[in-house]
């Protein structure tokens, strides 16, 4: 009875309520409910799908290891690897000048504006869409896949390379410029030693990414393992699909290990 009735606390709470954050969370929940209803994503469909999934998985196992299928998969996988190697090589060669041209601290406005715009266009389309256009332009086959992934490589490597160049230490550039060295020597003596390690890291990362994408451009006719995968899928040969998936995942894991090593060598 005699206790103070004041409900107020002596100290402010250690973790005060953050109302804007709570409102944002509530907004996300409301959006989720709204979007699921718009998309007709219902629990009934999901449960029906789980039944299908059981059927689907039972048709996938055991993976098909027939020698003729494996030979087909081998050819496709080798082509995917070649697409990734060539696209990374050519794309990185093109990204080097493009990235330098898009660096604000090296290039004049008239150069870096267009270079940035070109990189943005390369980045904005998914490799599969670019592959569709190249299939129309140069016909079915690996070349369309290589060209599509070159565009993707330029969009990623050139953009990040330009950022790396912009972050470098300007003192060495000034020192070399003070000796009246021509622009090419400034690049070779002051810029490259600072940024090459990061550039190699980007290249290695993009090779992994290109390998992943090269398994997919075949779906639209760009060569590689995608074509046999899509054919097997359309024929309901799900056991072959599983074999291909296992091989893709294994190859990509192997490449990630290798690229991890390469990155450590260059650090």
């Amino acid at each position: 009875m005699s206790a103070p009735a004041a409900p107020g606390r002596l100290r402010p709470p250690a973790f005060p309520a953050n109302w804007p954050a709570r409102l944002a969370w509530a907004g996300l929940v409301i959006y989720t409910i709204y979007a699921t209803s718009v998309l007709d994503v219902t629990l009934a469909r999901f449960i029906a799908g789980l039944g299908n999934a059981g059927h689907f998985l039972s048709r996938m196992f055991p993976p098909n290891m027939a020698p003729d299928k494996l030979a087909l998969i081998y050819t496709g996988m080798v082509e995917s690897l070649q697409i990734a190697v060539l696209a990374t090589f050519a794309g990185v060669l093109l990204s080097l000048p493009l990235g330098l041209a898009a660096a604000r601290n090296l290039a004049p406005v008239a150069v870096y504006g267009p270079a940035r715009a070109f990189i943005a266009i390369c980045r904005s389309f998914h490799p599969v869409i670019v592959a569709i256009l190249f299939v129309k332009a140069v016909g079915f086959g690996a070349l369309a896949g290589v060209l599509a992934l070159i565009v993707a490589t330029m969009g990623f490597v050139a953009k990040l390379f330009a950022e790396v160049v912009e972050e470098m230490n300007p003192k060495q550039v000034e020192a070399v410029r003070a000796t009246a060295a021509p622009f090419l020597n400034v690049l070779i003596m002051a810029v490259f030693p600072q940024v090459m390690a990061r550039f190699v890291g980007l290249t290695v990362y993009q090779f992994d990414s290109n390998l992943r994408n090269s398994t997919m451009v075949g779906i639209v006719g760009g060569g590689g393992i995608g074509a046999p995968l899509f054919t097997a899928y359309q024929r309901f040969d799900y056991d072959v699909v599983l074999t291909i998936l296992i091989i893709i995942v294994a190859l990509i894991m192997l490449c990630e290990l290798v690229s991890g090593r390469v990155r450590r060598i260059f650090q």
């Binding site: 718009v38 994503v41 799908g49 689907f56 060539l86 998914h126 599969v128 140069v138 290589v146 899928y233």
Partner: protein, 274 residues
């Protein structure tokens, strides 16, 4: 003769400074040589059909001639609804991926879960998720859930788990021990340590990863329709199969503008939130 005479000492060449140790140089040269071999091997054995190349310039010119002018009437018919669907697929897929990746990221972070087997399991899930391309995930989910947006949402989510989980678990591993130890010392339960010790430290990283992935997913969800997983890709596929290049051109322009708008929105949100 067991001591060097001053004459021979003076004749010794001055020490040459090398930037890298011999082991580093050998490693680097090996990488260069192997890369060169890989490129040469690929160039020599890749199959290119030269007949297709002769008319490539004509075909390219033809492509653009057929695209322009765009078939604007097609936009209200099919493109608009498909575009909204694409947006929902990308956003819902990202949200689902966040929900699924969050616990896995805590399992993968070696400073939070001190069990190598669980760490390894979570890492394995991340790598598998990232290795399978979103279009291939979409093939699998179309076979399970049938054509439509549900398959698209699931494939976006499953492809994003690995990306979000990997980056977020790395952010968790970089979290400072101080707040966590302080909370542990007060006898706080493990859930509270998670919410008040780790979460405030990694929340900016979490949202920045989520925004980055959402940006990527908008791009990816535009092509899922090619294999029947809903969105604007369905309209694109139909136009491509009918060789209506003026509709294809319109859809590509629409995708381009959406991607540009998304980039502007994400960079604005990132500047405000993080």
């Amino acid at each position: 003769m067991n001591a060097l005479s001053p004459v021979t000492q003076a004749a010794k060449p001055p020490r040459v400074w090398h930037r890298f140790t011999p082991a580093e140089r050998i490693g680097r040269s090996m990488v260069y040589v192997l890369s060169a071999i890989a490129v040469v091997w690929s160039l020599r054995t890749i199959e290119v059909i030269p007949e297709f190349l002769y008319d490539a310039p004509e075909q390219t010119a033809d492509l653009f001639r057929r695209m322009w002018p765009f078939d604007w009437a097609f936009y209200p018919e099919q493109v608009h609804d498909a575009l909204i669907e694409t947006f929902h697929i990308a956003t819902l897929g990202t949200l689902l991926a966040l929900v699924l990746a969050l616990p896995l990221a805590f399992l993968a972070a070696r400073n939070f879960t001190r069990n190598p087997a669980l760490n390894w399991l979570a890492q394995f899930i991340f790598v598998s998720s990232r290795s399978v391309n979103s279009l291939i995930w979409a093939l699998l989910f179309v076979a399970i859930f049938g054509p439509g947006a549900l398959a698209g949402v699931m494939s976006i989510a499953f492809r994003s788990i690995g990306f979000i989980g990997k980056l977020f678990s790395e952010a968790l591993e970089e979290a400072q021990k101080g707040p966590v130890e302080a909370l542990t010392a007060t006898g706080a339960p493990r859930a509270m340590i998670l919410v008040k010790g780790y979460w405030p430290q990694v929340e900016p990283a979490f949202w920045s990863v989520a925004l980055l992935r959402w940006d990527i997913n908008i791009r990816e969800s535009a092509v899922l329709g090619l294999v029947g997983a809903g969105g604007i890709g369905v309209a694109l596929d139909a136009s491509l199969n009918n060789l209506y290049w003026d509709q294809v051109g319109l859809i590509l322009a629409v995708i381009f503008s959406v991607v540009v708008v998304t980039e502007i929105v994400t960079s604005w949100l990132r500047a405000r939130l993080i």
